[in-house]
């Protein structure tokens, strides 16, 4: 079932010839990832629709693709642009910049005293390893909820970086943000997820 994916040099000409097998290979390879990217930006309910539209416009635009990036990166960029456009049109959309990029606060400042020492230090976790966390139905659900609850932009950065292993350069291009902003957002997202898990450990 998992054959190795042909490289772009082989795939792109086949796609340009509108070869059905090539379409199938590419959709099967990337649909999951593209869905995740869309969900991270626009939420679950319209993600499928956004990705479908992206596939269609991608193949229409393929003859003009200059191959300055990989096919995968290009597809991700199309999906993220579509998702962002859609987000702007949705009435219930949350503003992108829900947090000041200049804010340095990763953790509730009340956890520290004036000298910057912990007043509420982190407590030990009973369930301490990734494997154990994911084996616990409760903590796994907590993790998913924590990620889902993140604001749009931190969630996008976390998804692209920690879930999909994309590099920072690509993330900045896809989301139109600076690298320093991306780092802040990533740290904030990770911090919030950690906080949620910490709270769930107490239950």
């Amino acid at each position: 079932m998992s054959q190795s994916l042909p490289n772009d040099d082989e795939l792109i000409p086949r796609l340009l010839r509108q070869e059905e097998e090539a379409y199938t290979i590419v959709v099967k390879a990337y649909q999951g990832t593209l869905l995740q990217v869309a969900k991270a930006i626009i939420g679950s309910s319209v993600a499928e629709e956004v990705v479908q539209e992206a596939w269609i416009s991608a193949f229409k635009a393929l003859p003009k693709f200059e191959r300055r990036s990989s096919l995968k990166t290009w597809l991700i960029r199309i999906v993220s642009n579509n998702a962002k456009t859609r987000l702007r049109h949705e009435s219930r959309s949350r503003p992108f910049s829900e947090l000041s990029p200049n804010s340095n606060e990763m953790i509730d400042p009340s956890y520290f005293d004036k000298k910057g020492s912990w007043t509420q230090p982190p407590l030990s976790w009973d369930i301490n390893s990734p494997e154990e966390i994911l084996s616990s139905q409760q903590l796994k659900a907590c993790l998913d909820a924590a990620i889902e609850a993140l604001a749009t932009l931190p969630k996008s950065v976390l998804t692209l970086r920690d879930m999909q292993g994309q590099n920072m350069d690509m993330i900045c291009k896809v989301l139109d943000i600076s690298e320093s902003n991306a780092r802040v957002l990533l740290h904030r997202a990770r911090s919030q997820v950690r906080e949620s898990i910490a709270r769930c450990q107490r239950k």
Partner: protein
């Protein structure tokens, strides 16, 4: 000197190896003497790994039926 609050602010850069040598040294020294911050960093690392593993668990496998549906849609739109 780095205080605990500084540590939490820079934790990401430390974990992702994005600090200068000097900054990294200061960070390491603080961690040597502060159990609270050691715990914090360890928990952050756990979270990062857990998120990453959750991704691999998440169903990225798309059913053949779904793939075919999309391919059909693409073909329909291509013939214009």
């Amino acid at each position: 000197m780095l205080n605990c609050k500084n540590i939490t602010q820079k934790a990401n850069d430390y974990i992702d190896r994005d600090l200068s040598l000097m900054a990294r040294l200061k960070f390491t020294i603080h961690l040597l003497i502060c159990t609270h911050c050691r715990k914090y960093i360890s928990q952050m690392r756990t979270i990062i790994k857990t998120v990453n593993m959750r991704h691999s668990e998440t169903d990225l496998e798309i059913s053949d039926a779904e793939v075919n549906k999309i391919v059909e849609l693409i073909k329909t739109k291509q013939t214009k």
